[in-house]
Subunit: 365 residues, 2 copies
């Protein structure tokens, strides 16, 4: 049987640096655990624009459709701020999500014990926090038509975007959330603004339908998204799995990520329907951005990106034990006080560079 | 000259209780400071639905258009959850905002010294926090057309809402934000998702236009709303005035409110264009909701609603000194350890009921 295939898209800013450490981890699993991958690499975001004039070349898109999993670093940077909307680095990322139909974006918000002091929240509020946000990723206001800016006769302009959801779009991501909850603490909280938006009413009703018909044993609650933001700040441990739409998910998952104080540590998985080989279409990426201010200086923390590979092991390759091995190695490194600059707190630790963190993780493995 | 007019709409849940204390404060200003108001009272939300079958009667709407300021308590409750979207309590509130054209919603997020320990955030992150969120309140996805749920031939459904902004809608709320910043710390941060939404691009460009042409002396920055949520959690004191659209404003202002740990303390003002007498169309309401779980028990904290009246004194009646008098009285009461149930922390204090808090504030005045 041929090896599973990976497409690595390091992207912009700190993307290439952190991805280099992931590559070493991949090599380690091949050499030491017999988990061999066929890895190819390509461009996305500003890096693709610089070469191809578009943030994702068609050939790269085609390759992404073929592989078993895509690993993405980060996209964007000030250099590209002046570009037209249609070729901005973000469009490359959005094209991948849309054309691979990666509808379920899994964003764990976990607080690492060794880092609980880093949160701006009180330690008891976040210590041990482990919630999973499931964000719908291929529809809603990100992709709805009509959209655009039009100029009126008097020179004034109108900007329009459309929030658009169908029964099936809601049900399938709801199923992802319920499935996850079953393997966690069996609780799903769905968030929308059904008090203001009809699309929110549909969201609430369809999530309820999936619950009642397919997952009656999972505990389901509904919350308005504004209250959701409050509750995340007030007492995030009340949640297990949160399911919400593309735009609310963007904001609420970033809010939740920051609660943990572990932003440089948080991975994500974007999953679609099963392919012929049974594996889901999948892309894995860190939650953090391209951090242009520290790019190229060996300061970036590669852990979020490495944990994204751990998610790939779990969700694409059914290697939950190997994923756990990798996660445990990272926990050990943190407990040992190994720290990239972003993790360096008042209690000190052993300062390391991006590759130094890679070294430590490989050693712990 | 006739007295300025107020319309009081206590609404649902704890609305009537907290508004009763506001009424006492209004009376005090009439008797002791010669600030007399002609006050009328009417129904809104579920209370209006119970009597009229709609959450805001036309006569009430007409009265709201005539008065100098509306004071609103809160709307909504579980009893009304089953109602059709078109007559839900929230629609009464949204109708007031829309028909009075109250485009600028001012939501101060202030952390009261005596209450800094209540925040789930670390004390140094929130102590002394004083930011002002200016939320656009009459447009965007709350009101955009087309909207609704349609059923397809195969029985599946589609839910749609439209994010819609015009040049003028953006410019006028931007002006409100810049004006406020001039009287504060001279900094405005505008938040949108211009990397994903064309309406966000328009938002960014029009806010920049108002800055460059009318307020070049105010410091302006732009931030994506997801990063905004993160930055609010990470280090909220970096902000002075934040200006954002209706939906982002709903979520971000609730997030900011919860940061302060003073949810029962936060007022808001919703302002429109100047009327003939020079006063802006205006409605004042607490940020907290109707809290049906504690309604009718004398447990509610009336301070947010009383501080909303202080905002009325400042923004509708040009009585900044009297507003400050009221705010100082409240600070004193808090410093003296007078506490409604929601404010009672481990360090104790003098427990009081809703009206007991009113008594203490009147005494401090
Ligand atoms: C980069 C941007 C287009 C993207 C989004 O808005 O989805 C990012 O914020 C994210 O959350 O992955
Ligand atoms: C009650 C609801 C309609 C309202 C809103 O979404 O605007 C509330 O959340 C608010 O922020 O005032």
């Amino acid at each position: 049987m041929s090896n599973p295939t990976l497409l690595i898209l390091p992207g912009d800013g700190i993307g290439p640096e952190v991805m280099a450490e992931v590559q070493r981890v991949i090599d380690w699993f091949g050499a030491r655990r017999g988990l061999k991958f066929d890895v190819s690499e390509d461009l996305v975001g500003g890096a693709a624009y610089d070469v191809h004039g578009v943030p994702l070349a068609d050939a790269t898109m085609a390759r992404a459709q073929e592989v078993d999993a895509v690993l993405l670093g980060a996209v964007g940077g000030p250099k590209y701020d002046v570009l037209d909307f249609s070729v901005k680095p973000e469009r490359g990322l959005l094209r991948l999500r849309k054309e691979m139909d990666l509808y379920a974006n899994l964003r764990p918000a976990q607080c690492f014990d060794a880092l609980a002091d880093f949160s701006s929240l009180k330690k008891d509020v976040v210590a041990g926090l482990d919630i999973m946000i499931v964000r719908e990723l291929t529809s809603g206001v990100y992709f709805g038509q009509p959209r655009g800016i039009t100029t009126q006769a008097d020179g004034s302009r109108v900007g329009i975007n459309t929030q658009h959801y169908t029964t099936e779009e809601i049900r399938r991501v709801a199923r992802s959330a319920f499935e996850l909850a079953k393997r966690r603490n069996n609780k799903v909280c769905s968030m929308e603004k059904a008090n203001v938006m009809e699309s929110g009413i549909l969201w609430r009703e369809e999530v309820q339908w999936v619950h009642d018909n397919e997952y009656p044993e999972v505990e389901l609650s509904h919350m308005y998204a504004d209250n959701g933001a409050m509750q995340l700040v007030r007492w995030p441990k009340q949640f297990d799995v949160i399911v919400t739409d593309n735009l609310f998910g963007d904001i609420l998952s970033d809010c939740a990520a920051m609660l943990t104080g572990s932003l440089g540590m948080l991975p994500s998985a974007s999953l679609g329907a099963p392919m012929e080989n049974g594996r889901p279409k999948a892309m894995y990426e860190p939650v953090h951005g391209s951090a242009p201010d520290i790019a190229g200086q060996g300061k970036a923390n590669p852990i979020a990106c490495i944990l994204s590979f751990a998610m790939a092991l779990r969700y694409s390759f059914d290697q939950g034990d190997e994923a756990m091995r990798l996660e445990k190695a990272i926990e050990k490194v943190l407990a040992d006080g190994v720290r990239t600059a972003d993790l360096m707190g008042p209690e000190g630790g052993t300062p390391v560079s991006t590759s130094g963190m890679g070294d430590a993780i490989l050693a712990a493995l």
